[in-house]
Symmetry: C2
């Protein structure tokens, strides 16, 4: 995939800004430092962003979109054969931890900004709960599960494990994804005979 020069500059600015925000904090970072570190001009910056606030918001929105996409995994469950649901969900957990681990600076920023993280958390919880409720009607999710409690729990565990084990590099994305799947899936999904 080739990127245009403009896309490349924009991506570079976002990446440098992310590093500086995480290292020095949002307040102490100047646009002049972002452009200097990116090897670009102030004029180039203003081609893509209105302000420092704007680049920060775009950065968080891109990140949020990835998280929302990955946590929408439940939507696909109805299209899968029952025996594939578990491995599909496990892989999506691994991908989720991969995105969070690949962008440690952004993950730190996102988890630290309570207002932003509350907004995105709420949306993700709602999406997981709605998908689970739908899957419950199809018999994929156990009848006795309160889908809102389960959704809150999954998000809480993901956040805690990111902070505790992923950002510290004590565990890999695979280990965390597999453990989360191992802990939750037998309790939440109906055990369907393989081959069903």
């Amino acid at each position: 995939m080739s990127r245009t020069k403009g896309e490349e500059s924009k991506r570079k600015l976002l990446q440098v800004a992310e590093e500086l925000f995480a290292k020095k904090g949002y307040q102490s970072t100047k646009i002049s430092e972002i452009v200097a570190n990116a090897g670009l001009t102030q004029a180039a910056f203003y081609l893509y962003f209105k302000s420092k606030e704007d680049i920060f918001q775009q950065m968080l929105e891109d990140f949020d979109q990835q998280l929302i996409y990955l946590s929408d995994v439940g939507k696909k469950a109805v299209e899968l054969s029952p025996k594939d649901v578990k491995s599909y969900v496990t892989n999506m957990f691994i991908q989720l931890f991969t995105v969070l681990g690949k962008n440690p600076n952004l993950t730190k920023i996102a988890l630290q900004h309570a207002t932003d993280s509350d907004r995105i958390r709420k949306k993700i919880v709602e999406q997981i709960a709605n998908n689970m409720s739908n899957n419950q009607r199809f018999g994929i999710v156990k009848e006795e599960i309160d889908t809102w409690i389960a959704a809150e729990s999954i998000v809480a565990v993901t956040e805690r494990l990111v902070n505790r084990y992923l950002l510290t590099r004590e565990k890999t994305e695979e280990e965390l994804g597999e453990q989360v799947a191992q802990m939750f899936l037998s309790g939440i999904l109906n055990h369907l005979k393989s081959g069903d």
Copy 2:
């Protein structure tokens, strides 16, 4: 059970202090208000506590002891018949939510004081992980479970559900305890045939 007058006064001071700290914050609460609201004298206060800091610390320590006791549930697992483990653990989760829900002010204080909650959280996680590792050797906990990840996850879920559903009174202690058990136990415990 009869309490001595001294025990009764101390308990009353702790209870009033808890209410005032939660309502007005620790900083804004004066010892004079605590004693006035408890219908006691300053002299009585200083019989039991050295300072405002001291009553606060004693309050948190009592609370911590209860939480530590209840989260030590795994220790008993080896003494139970396999089919009783699940209901035993479920009941302890319900009791844990009951203690947290019965002391909403203290729970709010404890969850808000990051330093204290980190200290107690660490201890509880360690205790659960150690009990689980021991139970793993007895075949009660599944071989493939990373007991530290599981312990962190259980604590994270408990905290989140307390904040989100218990303190808001949207769910009962029983609902939360049963859901936590439902979600986690099939993934963590080995399925032993009933009657084993």
